[in-house]
């Protein structure tokens, strides 16, 4: 468990303290995939670097499994860092070492593994990230996705309990992003590793995260389970992110709504209700006619969800509302 207790960070620039992270309380549970989303400069990079103290905090306490890591001496800190893997946007592989040597590097630094242990572990990791055939290549000979898989294997070498991902998919194309995210999800499930992932893409959060914190100007402005934050965003920044990821043009949508007749509702389905043939039966029972203005059906991690914006005309609106609520559908009246 990672606990932030009034953690803050500011940088000295020309004698003035510029805050990068305002005092923040946050808890990340063991074994969850925790997303931190924000625009560049929102402070998410700082936040993730506080967890392994690449950035020392200016105030507050950081507790990892109930131990205050801000009090560690240099050698305790180095031992702790071996238990925290990290992957980066630009991979940060050593260009002078082969794939196998890059993966072995953290184990060699630790100085507590025998040669056989290192060799076996490297083979095991190469197989896990499907790069066995590339063991003796140099990073410059690999594609972006392969480089990031080497990064992941390297981060896992010393069997960490936490994996920090710093914009790990931002330099990759959509397809490669998919496969890297799938790998991260598999690792999380199979090894029970806690993953803290920062990104500026809500889509990444939607695919792999259990919970998410939204950052804006050095503050966490919204935090909660991904489905909650994603389907019912409260803060303007969160809304921007959600609309951005759904490629919804807000103004266009408003125009469409203007043209529609009757009441306008937004229905949010989650889990099993996504698959129910609900609209037809509600229309029959209440006598309302509906037209679909916009809609989307997708997954949040493993949970299916749907979101429909409808305009309803005629019939008994109250009956319709009751029916929707009885079917566990969240209803929002837009007009």
């Amino acid at each position: 468990m990672i606990v932030f207790d009034q953690v803050q960070k500011s940088y000295q620039v020309g004698g003035r303290a510029i805050p990068a992270l305002h005092p923040t309380d946050m808890t990340i549970e063991t074994g969850e995939v925790f997303g931190i989303v924000g625009h560049s400069g929102a402070g998410k990079s700082t936040l993730v670097r506080l967890i392994n103290l690449l950035e020392p905090p200016s105030g507050g306490r950081i507790l990892i499994d109930d131990e205050d890591i801000t009090g560690y001496n240099p050698s305790e800190l180095r031992a702790f860092r071996r238990k925290v893997g990290m992957i980066f946007q630009h991979f940060n592989l050593l260009s002078s070492k082969t794939v196998a040597d890059n993966i072995a590097f953290p184990m060699k630094l630790a100085g507590i593994y025998s040669k056989t242990e290192i060799r076996e572990r490297v083979e095991e990791l190469l197989a896990r990230v499907s790069l066995t055939d590339h063991a003796n290549k140099y990073p410059s000979q690999l594609s972006g996705g392969q480089k990031q898989r080497v990064g992941i294997a390297r981060a896992l070498a010393c069997r960490p309990t936490i994996l920090l991902c710093d914009e790990a998919t931002s330099a990759l194309d959509p397809q490669t992003t998919q496969s890297v995210l799938k790998l991260l999800a598999d690792i999380n499930r199979e090894l029970g590793l806690t993953i803290v992932l920062i990104t500026h893409e809500m889509d990444v959060v939607r695919r792999v995260c259990d919970r998410v914190a939204v950052m804006d100007a050095g503050r966490v402005v919204e935090m909660g389970p991904v489905s909650e934050v994603f389907l019912h965003p409260q803060h303007p920044t969160t809304r921007d992110f959600v609309f951005e990821s759904e490629s919804i043009d807000h103004e266009e949508l408003q125009e469409d709504l203007q043209k529609a007749n009757g009441r306008i509702l937004r229905l949010t389905f989650k889990g099993e209700s996504t698959y129910q043939p609900l609209l037809g039966s509600v229309a029959r029972k209440s006598g309302v006619d509906f037209s679909i203005l916009s809609g989307r059906i997708d997954h949040i991690k493993d949970t299916p969800y749907g979101q429909l914006t409808l305009s309803l005309v005629g019939g008994d609106l109250n009956v319709a509302m009751q029916e929707f609520e009885a079917a566990d559908v969240h209803v929002e009246v837009l007009r």
Binding site: N52, L54, P74, L77, R78, A79, F80, R81, R82, V84, M86, F88, H90, N92, L93, L94, S95, S96, K97, F105, P106, K108, L109, A110, Y138, P139, S140, C158, L164
Partner: protein, 221 residues
């Protein structure tokens, strides 16, 4: 041909070439041994680096700059008492080596500093995140990553030392430069001058070629 090169004593040329090789080789060796750690220190103590130490950096940088700003011909003369103290003579091959190192080491140190600065900061950060200490970061990541740059730096330093070594002939340093000055210049033996210059040109060409090959071999980018 014989008449054209009537003044050239080939065995003399052979010995002088050998002396130049020894002077360049030895001074290069010591320049690297002294310049490399200084270059690493310059890098580490620099602004926003691992061991940021503004005072140490300023002092080190000042000393390096002073040695680099003194024209080598002056450095040769200024160094004479120190050279005598160090190895007993300021003459010959041995006497030329200390001033060559005094000129070569700071030059090489700057080149090392520059090539270390070109190592991606992300790699240093990643290595730190793995729990490496400063020594491990230097030897495990920084130096291997900067190796092609450092080899290129050694090549440039070696070539500079060839010309410095030739200059040391002025104060009786030995080698091809000494030959060029004593015979080519003072006795107007143009043929000796031409041969020594030609040999120096060949020497520099070979050094550059070998250096480039090595850089290519160690570049994985």
């Amino acid at each position: 041909m014989e008449a054209l090169l009537s003044n050239v004593d080939w065995s003399e040329i052979g010995w002088a070439s050998w002396d130049t090789l020894v002077m360049v080789g030895m001074s290069l060796l010591f320049s690297v041994l002294i310049g490399l750690p200084i270059g690493v220190l310059l890098f580490l103590t620099g602004k926003r680096q691992l061991l940021e130490q503004p005072v140490a950096y300023a002092v080190l940088s000042f000393v390096v700059n002073v040695l680099r700003s003194v024209p080598f011909i002056i450095l040769l003369i200024v160094m004479i008492p120190f050279t005598v103290m160090l190895i007993g003579t300021s003459l010959g091959v041995a006497g030329a080596i200390p001033p060559l190192v005094a000129g070569g080491a700071p030059f090489f140190a700057r080149l090392v500093e520059t090539s270390l600065r070109e190592v991606d900061r992300g790699i240093i950060e990643a290595t730190q995140a793995m729990g490496a200490n400063v020594r491990q970061i230097i030897f495990g990541a920084l130096l291997p990553e900067a190796l092609p740059g450092i080899i290129a730096g050694i090549t440039v330093t070696a070539i500079t030392l060839v010309s410095y070594a030739a200059m040391s002939g002025v104060i009786g340093g030995g080698g091809l430069g000494d030959l060029a000055i004593r015979f080519g210049y003072q006795r107007f033996q143009t043929d000796v001058m031409v041969i020594t210059v030609a040999l120096l040109v060949i020497f520099v060409q070979v050094l550059q070629m070998v250096g480039d090959r090595l850089v290519l071999y160690f570049s994985r980018k």
